[in-house]
């Protein structure tokens, strides 16, 4: 006795995914069930029509921006002009104060302290978190070089929180400009490509401590705090707002443990 024919078998028949022996059984079944046969013949025709309609896309010549060799070469060459234009974009956003699409309705009332840091983190995330081409200047594979750069500009030892327990992998980072000097921006993403970032810089008051506080500007949500004169904000999009608090707690725990 052979197994009864299932719908899965019939779809696999349409997709040519059956073994020879099973296909023979399905063919015999279809011969004696013309209505089912007609329906699945229709699915077969549908499959061919889709392949015919979409096939020409794959036959197009690959455009230069998708040339793998170019992409590998671009990645190896430090791209100063991209960094400069990103910095310019950041400054323009700062000057525009609230005209950024992600940052509608922001004032610039505070220029130092934890609120300023929160504000700077939101700007940095709005600019770089949404950058599909080059969200980071130095990738995670060169994290030693990245840490060296950030430590040099911040004149502070810096460590790299591991957020993989929350599903976020470190993808890299850069130094960004803020109203209060250079800051390190560390970028992480999850399996779906959702990005979160940590901005860090020394506080203007070098002994400042601040309890963790939530902040939100436009579509950017974050948690900012300061420990021993070093300020941090973990920022992300509105859709991950609820997940950010425990991640910020974990990042703070690791950062405290490393100093």
């Amino acid at each position: 006795m052979s197994r009864p024919i299932s719908e899965d078998d019939l779809h696999a028949f349409v997709d040519g995914a059956l073994s020879d022996s099973r296909r023979a059984e399905v063919e015999a079944y279809l011969e004696s069930n013309p209505e089912v046969a007609e329906r699945y013949a229709q699915f077969g025709a549908q499959r061919e029509a889709l392949r015919a309609a979409l096939g020409p896309i794959a036959a197009e010549p690959v455009p230069p921006n998708l040339n793998l060799r170019h992409l590998v070469a671009t990645r190896r060459r430090p791209n100063r002009s991209a960094w400069q234009s990103a910095a310019a974009a950041c400054l323009l956003l700062l000057a525009g104060g609230g005209s950024g699409w992600m940052l509608r309705g922001i004032g610039m009332e505070q220029t130092t302290g934890i609120n300023a840091l929160a504000h700077e983190a939101s700007y940095a995330y709005a600019v770089f978190g949404s950058d599909s081409g080059r969200p980071v200047e130095i990738a995670a594979t060169d994290s030693d070089a990245l840490l060296g750069w950030v430590e040099k500009r911040l004149s502070e030892p810096v460590s790299l929180p591991d957020l993989s327990g929350a599903g976020y992998q470190f993808i890299g980072g850069r130094v960004v400009a803020t109203q209060n000097g250079p800051a390190g921006l560390l970028m992480y993403d999850d399996a779906e490509g959702t990005r979160i970032a940590i901005l860090m810089r020394p506080m203007v008051r070098r002994d400042e401590n601040a309890p963790m506080a939530q902040h939100r500007e436009g579509d950017v949500v974050g948690y900012a705090w300061a420990d021993d004169g070093m300020g941090y904000s973990l920022v992300g999009g509105l859709d991950v707002a609820e997940a950010l608090h425990p991640i910020a707690d974990e990042a703070r725990r690791q950062l405290l443990a490393s100093t």
Binding site: A12, A17, R51, A52, P56, A58
Partner: protein, 172 residues
């Protein structure tokens, strides 16, 4: 990397079929390839490269569709013209292609992904399950729903396309 290059035409086709916008789709493929390059050392060497690359692309596409839905950006079927699905066959074929592509765009995103990966990109059911991170039984039920639904909207004819914008807006 020699394993990735031959996949690029398929990646472009899958991205464009999901996003229905040529330049957005190519941007997405570029983003995907950059991730492939930067994470090349992180891939499982015993794993399936094609499945790994498609997983990265699919997740990026879904993210992009979610962002577009949040911002209220959507593409209506009227915008899905010959520029997006560039084909240059005979007029009759073109109309037929147009009809199936229109019908495809009426499917919910989760059914469309399964149908495209299985029927067009020739991924096995197991590979499709892995790319979409769903059980194989879910692949089969989505495939079945997609095929029935596509057949239904082809039978209903082009009058249905008027509702496409509404359907697409609900993509999340």
């Amino acid at each position: 990397m020699a394993l990735v290059e031959p996949l690029i035409p398929s990646l472009r086709r899958y991205a464009r079929s999901l996003l229905r916008d040529q330049s957005a789709a190519d941007d997405l493929v570029q983003d995907c390839l950059e991730r492939v390059i930067s994470r090349w050392h992180q891939r499982r060497t015993d794993g399936n490269t094609r499945t790994w690359v498609f997983t990265i692309l699919h997740n990026l596409a879904i993210n992009r569709l979610k962002q577009a839905a949040r911002r209220g950006v959507h593409v209506t079927v009227e915008d899905v013209d010959e520029a997006a699905f560039a084909t240059a066959p005979a007029q009759e074929d073109r109309l037929h292609h147009r009809a199936i592509v229109d019908a495809l765009s009426l499917l919910p995103e989760d059914q469309r992904s399964v149908l495209l990966l299985v029927s067009v990109e020739d991924l096995s059911y197991a590979e499709t399950a892995s790319v979409l991170d769903i059980p194989i039984g879910t692949v089969m039920s989505r495939l079945s729903r997609a095929r029935h639904r596509l057949a239904q909207s082809m039978a209903d004819g082009p009058g249905q396309t008027a509702t496409a914008a509404t359907v697409l807006r609900s993509v999340k």
